[in-house]
Structures are given as structure tokens and as C-alpha cells.
């Protein structure tokens, strides 16, 4: 198989046209433009109807529902089939905006074996703007065309007759046991954990063999399949030894599965025969040839996205604590995917029945008009929780605390508009204390804030720990926590309460890492006279903005926090 991205695109699309359901689909990463259009032009060669989805498509459209206009006019229940009812090529534009919920529904549809095939068109601009993993894992082909100039592309040749012949041949195509083993081992060497990958590679190889008119998968088919399916999924360069530490220690695999070993130990024999050596090597070379150069950079970006728990392209969707609560219905149109409130609709229509019957030219038991339609409405809201972690240590504590208290009050005053809750954690001496549990009540806040003492060491880690626990707890209640750290000093009290600066710093870093790993946004506000370097480092560990704010008053503080929240 010659190199060149476009050749791979061509081969991949042909494979997809042979076995669309088996391969699951295509993850096409490319901005909208003529290059992508060339790929889309080839899609009609796939043996299924094309259906276009949208990243915010509703369940009614996906799974079907009641066709109300037809139901009302015929007086019988008329169901409308959803897009997923019949096998189809589901084309999903702007796939980088897919929400986890839709991803799960589509993944379920792909799993059910009804024969769907998903073409996800990912237009992400940043590496972390991308398709959810639930889907990428299930789509055999991953193609990245972002760097491809138009000049290096050409019309994709799709030979309908050849494809039909290949589809007829496909069920009879076999692959040897050895092939299975090679693909699985290769996937491990490339650091691919999911077992779907080797399975999909096998299917791709079979489709290509069928296309070539063979009944047995040969080496070229395999190389191509490896390039199309395995190489884009690689998480490590194959030169690296597999990570021994990942083996569960209590369960050492008896026949050493170390791939290097399998490859080199020709004397052992076991399940591996001598023939394995060349094929695996050839496949490995094929994979290497197509491994993206920025493999590791991309991985880091994806990890960051996962830790953040959101899809940046879609904006952070809030999970609401009051989501989906029904609220009173109101008059509306049915074309927006809204759900009809049957009872209210009937109630609205009832008074007019006699008049309408008199006026109507045809016999019908119920006269319902568009005006009567009442739409069900659901309330979806999420409350942000702002957790202030305030340093109450040392001599400057009193003024700083006063500012923090003022800022909390100011922010709370805005809270009704912003849907924010506020909580306050103070740390001083040897420990941290939750002074104010999440609240929106100004009265309660003022009462609690009034009596806050200051002075002592700086148990930063303890403060962060309390904040983290609170964040986890409140997230469970559906809030969206953000941690705002206000301090001027460096940590000098460790988690266990001892005055050990090194340990204290270590503990603080560990807690910051934990907060970041849990995906909670944070901000660090340095209220010292001059910027404290260790705080800047801590902000980096938290992945949070660092805001130096010497001699802040409550007003400036609340403005800075608001700005950071809206950034």
C-alpha cells in the first residue's frame, strides 16, 4: 500500500462501502471545505441511505414518536419512525459538539447490530475539541485531513459493480488464527487498550480482501487495515517496551505475553510459529509509517479534555440539580421537537367543540386545531457553587478576611441573577474549617461571617482538602463547583498538622492535583504585597488562572472573581 493520506482515504472509503455496518463508520477530522467535500461526494456509494443528524438532535427524531398532525386528523394513533429505525449512513456534522448523552445513544444504536454506520465529521479546531470517545472507539476508520492541501487530492474512485461483488464475497472471507493474534499483539504494542480495535482492524482487512477478490486475508490487506484502524489509535510508539507495571502483580501471566519476547524467542515455539516474525514486523512497519508525528501532544490534549470532563466546542454543559422538572405547559408549535401535553391540549380545545362541530363540513368526534396545542416544558438549570478558600493565617488575616467576607457578600447579592451558590472555607492554625456551607442566603451568610477569627500558620493543604470534599459533595447534588483560593502566603503546615514546610508544599501540590484530576475549575488570587512564586506554581498545578491582587478591596475582588468565572 503506497503511503499518502489520500490513498488511505480512498482505500478506507472503499472498505467502508463493502462493510459499512461491520466497520461502524468513519471519524473524519477535517474543516469544512473542498477537501472534505471530496470525501462526502463518495458517500453515496455506500449501500445504505444517507441520513443527516445534528449534534443537538432530540430523541423524538432519533427514536421516533407520535406524529400528532396525522394522529389528530385521522383520529388514530400514527407513529412516526425515527432516524434510527432503518439501517442508514448517519452523517453527523459538527461532531466535535456531540454531547455525551447523544454519543451514548448513537453508540447504543451502533452496538445493536441493526446495521447503522456513522460518519462523524469532526471540525474541531483545537486538539481537545473532538468527538467523544464512546464513538471514536466504535468507528473503525479514523482519518485526519486537516493538513491536507487540495492539490494532493483527487476524485475518489468508487466502482459500484466491484463493491457489490465484494459485498457478496465478504461472508466467505476468512482470516487465519495467526492474523487474529498478530493484530491483537500489534494493538497492545501500539498501546491500544480497547479490544474493539483489533476486531475492527480484522473486519477492515476482510473487507479489503473481498474487494481484491480474495477469500483469504493477505498481507497487503492487513497492512492497509493496520494503517487505517490501528495506527491512528496508537498511544505509544512501538519501540517502547510494554509497561510491565501495568500487569496486575497478583496475576503474572504464565506464558510470557511480552510481545518483544514473542517476536524474538524463536526457540520457544509455543503458540507462535516462525512465520509470525516477518508478518508482525511488516505490519509494525506499516503502522509506524502512518503514526502521526504529534502523537504524544495529541494524547496530552485528549487527557486534559477528559479530566475537564467537558467538550470545549460545545461549551460546558451544566448538569442541573433541577433539570427536567416539569413546569406548566404553554401554547406552542409542534415543529421544534417539542412534546405535546395531551391533557392541556384537550382541555384547551374542549370549550370550542360545539361551535367547531357546527362550522365543520365533515364528521369528526374531536375538533382540535393548531392553536390548541399545548407544549410540555421542562426546566433545566444548574447552579454554580463558588467555594472560597480563604487564608486566615498570620497578621494580615484580619484585613484579608474582611475583604473576603465583603466579596462573598457582594457575589451573593448577584447570585440570584447568576444562579450561584457560595461557600466559604477558612484555614488557619493547624486546620481548615467549613465556615459557610453552600448557600444563597444573604442573611445566613452575614451571620456566619461575622464571627471569623484569624491568626496562626498556613495549612493550605487542609484548606484545599476541605474545598475538594465540599466540591465532590456538592457536585453529587448537581451543582457545578469552582474553587477560588485567596491567600498571600506559602503553605507551612502539612496535612497532619505538623509545621513542616516541605511536607506542607508537597501536600498542597497533591491536593491541587486531586482537585484538577476531579475536573473542578479553580482560580488562585494572590492578595500579598508582591506576587508569591509558589502560588503561581500552585495555580499551574490546579490548571487555574493566577490573579495577583495586592491591597484588594471587596469590590475589586468581586469584579476579579466575576471576570475569572466568565472567562
Amino acid at each position: 500500500m503506497p503511503d499518502g493520506i489520500w490513498t488511505r482515504v480512498e482505500i478506507g472509503l472503499n472498505a467502508l462501502a463493502v462493510d459499512p455496518a461491520g466497520l461502524g463508520g468513519l471519524w473524519l477530522r477535517a474543516r469544512s471545505g473542498p477537501v472534505r467535500d471530496r470525501v462526502i461526494e463518495a458517500l453515496p456509494a455506500l449501500p445504505l441511505p444517507l441520513k443527516r443528524l445534528h449534534p443537538s438532535i432530540g430523541d423524538e427524531q432519533l427514536f421516533g414518536g407520535i406524529d400528532l398532525t396525522a394522529t389528530l386528523s385521522s383520529g388514530k394513533l400514527v407513529e412516526r419512525a425515527g432516524l434510527l429505525a432503518e439501517p442508514a449512513i448517519l452523517v453527523l456534522p459538527m461532531a466535535e459538539r456531540t454531547q455525551p448523552g447523544l454519543a451514548a445513544r448513537l453508540a447504543g444504536a451502533l452496538d445493536q447490530g441493526t446495521g447503522h454506520c456513522l460518519v462523524a465529521m469532526d471540525e474541531g479546531a483545537e486538539p481537545q475539541e473532538t468527538l467523544p470517545e464512546a464513538l471514536t472507539d466504535r468507528l473503525a476508520l479514523h482519518l485526519d485531513l486537516d493538513a491536507l492541501p487540495w492539490g494532493q487530492t483527487e476524485r475518489i474512485a468508487m466502482d459500484g459493480d466491484a463493491l457489490a461483488a465484494a459485498r457478496a464475497r465478504l461472508p466467505g472471507v476468512r482470516a487465519g488464527d495467526k492474523v487474529l493474534e498478530d493484530l491483537t499483539i500489534l494493538a497492545v504494542r501500539l498501546g491500544i487498550d480497547s479490544l474493539r480495535a483489533p476486531m475492527l482492524a480484522l473486519k477492515a482487512a476482510k473487507a479489503l480482501a473481498a474487494l481484491a477478490g480474495n477469500d483469504e486475508v493477505d498481507q497487503d490487506d492487513l497492512s492497509a487495515a493496520v494503517q487505517l484502524v490501528l495506527a491512528p489509535r496508537a498511544t505509544q510508539f512501538p519501540e517502547e517496551e510494554p509497561d510491565e507495571d501495568e500487569q496486575p502483580p497478583q496475576d503474572p501471566p504464565p506464558p510470557d505475553p511480552d510481545p518483544e519476547q514473542n517476536q524474538n524467542d524463536q526457540d520457544e515455539g509455543e503458540s507462535q510459529s516462525l512465520d509470525d516474525l516477518p508478518l508482525q514486523d511488516i505490519l509494525l512497519e506499516a503502522a509506524k509509517a502512518t503514526l502521526p508525528a504529534d502523537l504524544l501532544a495529541n494524547l496530552a490534549a485528549q487527557k486534559a479534555q477528559r479530566a475537564g470532563g467537558g467538550i470545549s466546542g460545545a461549551g460546558a454543559k451544566r448538569k442541573g440539580n433541577r433539570r427536567g422538572r416539569p413546569i406548566p405547559p404553554r401554547r406552542g408549535r409542534l415543529d421544534t421537537g417539542a412534546r405535546l401535553d395531551v391533557i392541556s391540549t384537550l382541555r384547551a380545545a374542549a370549550p370550542w367543540q360545539t361551535i367547531r362541530k357546527r362550522e365543520s363540513s365533515f364528521e369528526r368526534s374531536l375538533h382540535i386545531r393548531t392553536d390548541d396545542f399545548r407544549i410540555k416544558r421542562f426546566e433545566e438549570k444548574s447552579d454554580r457553587l463558588l467555594i472560597f478558600v480563604v487564608d486566615a493565617s498570620g497578621s494580615a488575616a484580619m484585613t484579608r478576611l474582611a475583604e473576603a467576607k465583603g466579596a462573598v457578600e457582594l457575589l451573593l447579592a448577584e447570585a440570584y441573577a447568576r444562579r450561584d451558590h457560595v461557600a466559604l472555607v477558612a484555614f488557619r492554625g493547624e486546620a481548615a474549617e467549613l465556615l459557610l456551607p453552600p448557600t444563597r442566603s444573604l442573611v445566613q451568610t452575614k451571620r456566619r461571617l461575622a464571627a471569623l477569627p484569624g491568626g496562626g500558620g498556613t495549612p493550605l493543604a487542609a484548606g484545599l482538602k476541605t474545598a475538594l470534599e465540599l466540591a465532590i459533595q456538592s457536585k453529587g447534588r448537581g451543582m457545578t463547583p469552582t474553587v477560588a483560593l485567596l491567600t498571600d502566603g506559602r503553605a507551612n503546615i502539612a496535612l497532619d498538622g505538623t509545621a513542616n514546610r516541605t511536607m506542607a508544599t508537597e501536600d498542597a501540590t497533591r491536593m491541587a492535583t486531586a482537585i484538577r484530576a476531579n475536573g473542578y475549575p479553580a482560580m488562585v488570587i494572590d492578595m500579598g504585597q508582591r506576587p508569591e512564586r509558589s502560588l503561581k506554581a500552585l495555580a499551574e498545578t490546579l490548571g487555574a488562572p493566577y490573579i495577583p491582587l495586592p491591597r484588594a478591596d471587596a469590590d475589586r475582588l468581586s469584579t476579579a472573581v466575576s471576570a475569572a468565572l466568565d472567562a
Binding site: 394522529t71 388514530k76 455525551p100 464512546a134 479490544l195 501471566p253 470532563g309
Partner: protein, 337 residues
């Protein structure tokens, strides 16, 4: 209609399989939560379970699978009063499900055409006496979760909506699967699952190859593959039925109860649900193994599944809940003999 992948043909994942078998023996254990990586066969296992469960006796046209005529709800229009044998219901709760479809709702067709107020049963009715399966359970909408919690608690579905006032039994075993990277599960729902297991991709090459090989032959030679594995599935079903009968006479002495209580105390699990589940699961395991009495070894074996999800979260502990349970089990029960 092709049958799902046979349960016995699933490679490895012993803890997950054990948990599912235990709830099949004693549904009172209360469901299984399967959390883990992608492509590890979570859904495969749940769907396979359906084919494995022993059949139930039910009134043919009863919407809630009642075992006898007098137990059928009064709103049901029975068209046939015959008692039939049917597979244990396993109902899929799709993520995008609406409240109406879960609890049931006014039958719109009857309402519009005949002006009749009839009830159209929902998924909870169909799941009665069976299993309710939720894939990606951590992505389920909150208001649906609340509904499920309510019904799972009471074993009864109460519908008060659209002028209807209806109740029917809804006793089911919850089976959920999900990927923890996509979101947390609310503690209330977490607690509702009797057992929880964590699955991960096998780390050993031979196992991985075997997984791929079986999947490939299932797809390539469906008939032959099912033929090969049908006897193993049938054996397992027989063992489950035998264990159910055995369960009634299973003894559990004071020492075992004490073990369970001490374990839960040491782990600081909330409430008494942990102890109960641990005891029930141990008893089911003992019955499955054909033992005369529950022993400490049984408790030890089911402890991780029964307690893992009941730990208080400790943000500082990087070891993970499985390790923590393991540590405490060793402290309380001593090293395995």
C-alpha cells in the same frame, strides 16, 4: 432474531460473571453495577445474562407478568388467562427514555378515538419480576433516576398523572453499566445496587487473542458457535436453579454474621445495607458451590463486589476502592487460608 453472545463464552471477567450469577440465584441481593473501560464486554455480559436466566410462569396477557390470575392488576384487560412459561424479562431502559415510557401513561389512541381513559403500561411494568438494564447509567437524566429510586424502593409503581390513578407491582433487579470517565453516579443510586464490579481490558495477550477469536467465530459462524456453547449455558442455568432451591436450607452461623458486621464497620459503610448484601451474596455463592453452610471464604470472595461502592469517598486515597476493601478484608478476616 439472533441470540446474544453466550454467557459462558465470555472470556475472563470472573468477578462480573460471578456477580450476575449471584443476583440470578437471589434477586434480593439487588442488582449489579458494572463500571469500566470501553470495549470490555459490559453490555455483552448483560445481554448474555438474559438468555441464561431460568424462565418464569406468568399469565399470558398480563402486562406485569403476574404469576397467577388473582395477582393481575384490575386495570389490565386480560385477553388470555392462560399461564405460560416465558423467559425472565430483561428490559432495556434507553438513555433518552421519557418519563411516560418508564412509568406508563394515558393511552393516547384510546383517549382520542373513544374518549376512554385507559392506561398504557410502561417499561417498569414490563420489567416486573425480571431485570431492568440501563446502559451508561451515569448519564441517565436525574428525574428518571429519581423515579427509579422511588419504585425500586417500594417495589410498586404508582401513576398519578393525566387523570389516571393506577398502581402495579414493579419488582425488578437493576443492572447498570457505565464508564466512570463520563460522570459520577449519585450516591443514592449507587447504594441501590447490591453488587458493583469494575472491569478492565485484559492485560494478558493470550486472553486478548481469545476474546477476539471467540467474537470473530460468533460473527462468522453463528450457528456453530451457539451449538458449541449452548450446553455450557444450559449447565450454568441448571446450577442456578439448583442453587435457588438450595438457598432455602443454607445455614449461616453467628460467626459469619459477625464477620459481615465487622467488615462493614471497619470500612465505615453507611447503613446496614452493606451487611445484608454481603450476607445474601455470600449465601448465594455458598448455594452455587453446593456448600452446606456459608463460610468465611465465601464472605471473602464476595466482599469486594458487595462493599466497593459503599465506601466513603476519600479524595486523598489514590489506591482505589478495590484495594481499600482488599486491605480491610485482610485485616478483619486474616490472610486467606
Amino acid at each position: 432474531m439472533t441470540q446474544p453472545f453466550p454467557f459462558s463464552a465470555i472470556v475472563g471477567q470472573e468477578e462480573m460473571k460471578q456477580a450476575m450469577i449471584l443476583t440470578a440465584i437471589d434477586p434480593g441481593i439487588g442488582g449489579v453495577l458494572v463500571f469500566g473501560d470501553r470495549g470490555t464486554g459490559k453490555s455483552t455480559a448483560v445481554r448474555a445474562l438474559a438468555a441464561l436466566l431460568p424462565p418464569i410462569q406468568a399469565v399470558a396477557s398480563c402486562p406485569v407478568n403476574s404469576p397467577s390470575l388473582d395477582r393481575c392488576p384490575d386495570w389490565a384487560h386480560l385477553t388470555s388467562t392462560e399461564i405460560v412459561t416465558r423467559p425472565t424479562p430483561v428490559v432495556d431502559l434507553p438513555l433518552g427514555v421519557t418519563e411516560d415510557r418508564v412509568v406508563g401513561a394515558l393511552d393516547i389512541e384510546k383517549a382520542l378515538t373513544n374518549g376512554e381513559k385507559a392506561f398504557e403500561p410502561g417499561l417498569l411494568a414490563r420489567a416486573n419480576r425480571g431485570y431492568l438494564y440501563i446502559d451508561e447509567v451515569n448519564l441517565l437524566e436525574d428525574h428518571i433516576v429519581d423515579l427509579l429510586l422511588d419504585v425500586a424502593q417500594s417495589g410498586e409503581n404508582v401513576v398519578e398523572r393525566e387523570g389516571l390513578s393506577i398502581r402495579h407491582p414493579a419488582r425488578f433487579v437493576l443492572v447498570g453499566s457505565g464508564n466512570p470517565e463520563e460522570g459520577e453516579l449519585r450516591p443514592q443510586l449507587l447504594d441501590r445496587f447490591g453488587l458493583s464490579v469494575e472491569v478492565s481490558s485484559p492485560k494478558d495477550i493470550d486472553t486478548r487473542i481469545e476474546v477476539i477469536r471467540r467474537r470473530d467465530s460468533y460473527e462468522m459462524d453463528y450457528e456453530g458457535f451457539m451449538e458449541t456453547w449452548r450446553p455450557a449455558d444450559a449447565d450454568l442455568r441448571e446450577k442456578i436453579i439448583a442453587a435457588r432451591n438450595h438457598l432455602k436450607t443454607m445455614k449461616s452461623d453467628e460467626a459469619v454474621l459477625r464477620d459481615c458486621a465487622e467488615l462493614c464497620l471497619a470500612l465505615g459503610s453507611d447503613g446496614l445495607r452493606g451487611e445484608l448484601t454481603l450476607l445474601k451474596a455470600s449465601r448465594a455463592l455458598a448455594a452455587f458451590e453446593g456448600a452446606d453452610a456459608v463460610s468465611r471464604a465465601h464472605v471473602r470472595q464476595v466482599a469486594p463486589s458487595a462493599l466497593r461502592h459503599r465506601l466513603r469517598r476519600d479524595p486523598l486515597d489514590e489506591a482505589g476502592s478495590t484495594t481499600r476493601v482488599g486491605r480491610v478484608v485482610e485485616e478483619v478476616l486474616g490472610e486467606p487460608a
